[in-house]
Amino acid sequence: METRVIGKSVPRKEGRKKVTGRARYVDDLSFPGMLHGVTVRSPAARGRIRAIRFEGEIPWHEFTVVTAKDIPGKNCIALLIEDQPCLAAEFVNHPEEAIVLLAHHDKYLLEEARRAVRIEIEPLPAIFSIEDSRARKEIIWGQDNIFKSFCVDKGDVDGAWASAAFVVEGRYETGAQEQLYIEPQGMIAQVSEAEGVTVWGSLQCPHYVHKALMVLFGLPRERIRVVQTETGGGFGGKEEYPSMIAAHAALLARKSGRPVKIIYDRAEDMVATTKRHPSRTRHVTALSRDGRLLAMDIDFTVDGGAYETLSPVVLSRGTIHAAGPYACPNVRIRSRAVATNAPPHGAFRGFGAPQSVFALERHLDRVAEAVGIAPDELRRRNFIREGQTLAVGQVVKEKVDMNGLMERAFALSGYHAKRKKFAAANSDPRGAIKKGIGFASFLHGAGFTGSGEEYLASEVAMEAMADGTVHILAGSTEMGQGTNTIFAQIAAEALRLDCEQIKIIQPDTAYVANSGPTVASRTAMIVGKLVETAGLGLLKSLTDGEFLQPGYTAADFSRACGEYVAKHGPLKTFVKYEHPRDLHWDDLKYSGDAYGAYAWAVYVAEVSVDIRTAEVRVNDFVAVQEVGKVINPVLAAGQIEGGVAQGIGFALYENVVWQEGRMVNAQMTNYVMPTSVDLPAIRVYFEEIPYGRGPAGAKGLGELPLDGTAPAIANAIAQATGVDVRQIPITAETLLEMLEGVHA
């Protein structure tokens, strides 16, 4: 299909503002009379609040002080349920839980005041590990410490063991990971009788914040307004947590009668906000003599922290992705999200899947070894094909060619030759530098899971102005991933205009349609489709009314808009998501069409390990994926490259050190993310098979790269060193220990 702008690397819509320093992030905004706000947090992991004392030589009368008593509505941050308080009133359930808020115009004095608030807590026994939570050492949430559990059941797993030639067992662990967007979280709020509550901030999901504020203030929809400012990265970290800061800023603004700004510094952002859920996975896998999967029994647990927040949905995605892109007749996945006394873990790009995919792809290399075939041969014999069913019972209707992706990735990386060469070289005991090459093959579902999109029922509005400028009004946010640009491209394509004629309206709940949260690799595919449909709808209005003839120019279009508006008034369309009728999902059985489409991928990593120091270097990285039609090649490749870099961090460097539920290395100096000297060339390739229901054939890709990067690296390290890697991050310290076991 000939396209005008789809498939072209048009420059980022807001790029000029960003490269000149004119883009306005929340901390760049200042309002007359504005105060600054800070949060006083719990020193204890769990306990009863005994007293709050305002000490020191602080002019306390100058301060606005807010506690739970000042909340006009319900003391909660409403999300899936309402278990998380906005401010702890009687009990605290994790370190750094917010208890008191302070506002003052002098930032320096405010910091001193924060340190002068004494919170006395009578400690209660707390639990800090998945094991202790499952053993119910203490019950800290609900009846059993379990936020949510799932059971996926396909075929008859128990009936398969007897006929198996091989049964391979393995346990795997992944650690917490900090999103580490470079712009820390922040929010400004203003509250007045006339205008209600307004917040401006760094956030992914304006309508999540909107809902939370309605419940907190007990106000109707139209009295709350949420505006997204330029957002300096999110990666899931600004999905649910911004509701908390918005709530805090708004409470201070209400009480002080002034605008209040809260900006977290890096340390506060790291100790107090969400991280990727730590996980434990156990696999028991049955295979036939020729290496075909007979049964997969998977047990998957994530640590949700102290409150439910998004853990049930993170668990859901992790569960569904746990059995990968393989055809296996018998699959059982039991999973649960459990409570511990740590700050709630939350959304982070990949959303549960990177955890379960790490376990599976590392496990399958071990399975291949047990069966006595090459890791790629094991995958080849079991890859899912069109018409076969995934673990959740979804029949794959896409044209999927995992083997083709794998061969391409191998050709690009020189996999086979290197695998052989490295094996030979590594067997020389004199060499201190060992090399390895490994891969992972995986899939990632785009959009909300199961019936999620149906419930969301997203909307997009589009308006053509009299001068021919076309406005897109959607709550979908730009946080660097390219929403503005691809929406403009999709609309321009539908309307046969140039991107410059399309204007993206800043997400503001007072004006834009609720297009759902900007998460789950759903924006391009699901919301993008609504944008496309809206564009075609506008065009139809113009052509049906004979304002516009085929073969029109941009000038004709503008003239037609002017005439239409003069005659009929505003030219605006609303489009609402309609769930495809042939997609079925059973929430009770947890089976059916989990996602409308999947992205499919094979990633290959090449590493070298200095076995004296256990230092790992990734020397080459090839990422091959099929994501439907690529809307903007530069932006799409940028998404994959950035995701792979985060995946390399997840695999090797990013180690959250916990002490009684608190992150103790909450600084960029000791929580280490990859720098420009740490990364290999990340080589990205797309296969493009247009997806019928995506805009111009596009599927989602944002989260995909987090899934396969870490296991590819782990498998490469296993080849290089002979170490049976079972957990990430594989830091030099942990690897050194394991190397001693192997090379002793």
Binding site: V19, I182, G232, M673, S676, V677
Partner: protein, 163 residues
């Protein structure tokens, strides 16, 4: 409340123009630029010299403005992201970042672009290792750096074709 030092007056040249402000001697130059001079293009990512989001040029050298006390600015020449484009036309590095996907969320971008421009002033023809080394004090969580490297290379090429 501990005794605070008295504010001092600091004069310097910022983006080619004379600037003068009052600040506590140990106030961070980053805050002065952002709050007193309203140059909010310089960003704060960590406040401890790790991320480079606050990078500026001081007398031609790249520094982390979160670590520079205001009093050290006295008599210096400072360049921030706002001083890079001349008139309406972008600096070659800015243009390259725009065309080659060097900026995603954009929060590291002002510091990264200054670091790249500073690198090119020192090494007009940097090799891959020099680019990586030259940008290693500037963290980017979005791009995985690949498109940033490409942008720097493109800026070099642009400079060559111009010369």
């Amino acid at each position: 409340m501990p005794e605070r030092a008295r504010k001092i007056r600091v004069s310097c040249v910022v983006n080619g123009g004379a600037a003068s402000f009052e600040a506590y001697p140990m106030a961070r130059l980053l805050d002065v630029l952002r709050e007193e001079l309203k140059l909010t293009g310089t960003k704060e990512g960590c406040g401890e010299g790790e991320c480079g989001a606050c990078s500026i040029e001081m007398d031609g050298a790249l520094v982390n403005s979160c670590l520079v006390p205001a009093l050290q600015a006295q008599g210096t020449k400072i360049r921030t992201i706002e001083g890079l484009a001349i008139g309406g036309s972008l600096h070659a590095v800015q243009q390259a970042f725009l065309t080659h996907g060097g900026a995603q969320c954009g929060i590291c971008t002002p510091g990264m672009i200054l670091a790249a421009a500073n690198l090119l002033a020192r090494y007009p023809q940097p090799d891959d290792a020099q680019i990586r080394e030259g940008l290693s004090g500037n963290l980017c969580r979005c791009t995985g750096y690949m498109k940033i490297f490409e942008s720097v290379v493109a800026a070099v090429r642009r400079a060559e074709t111009r010369a």
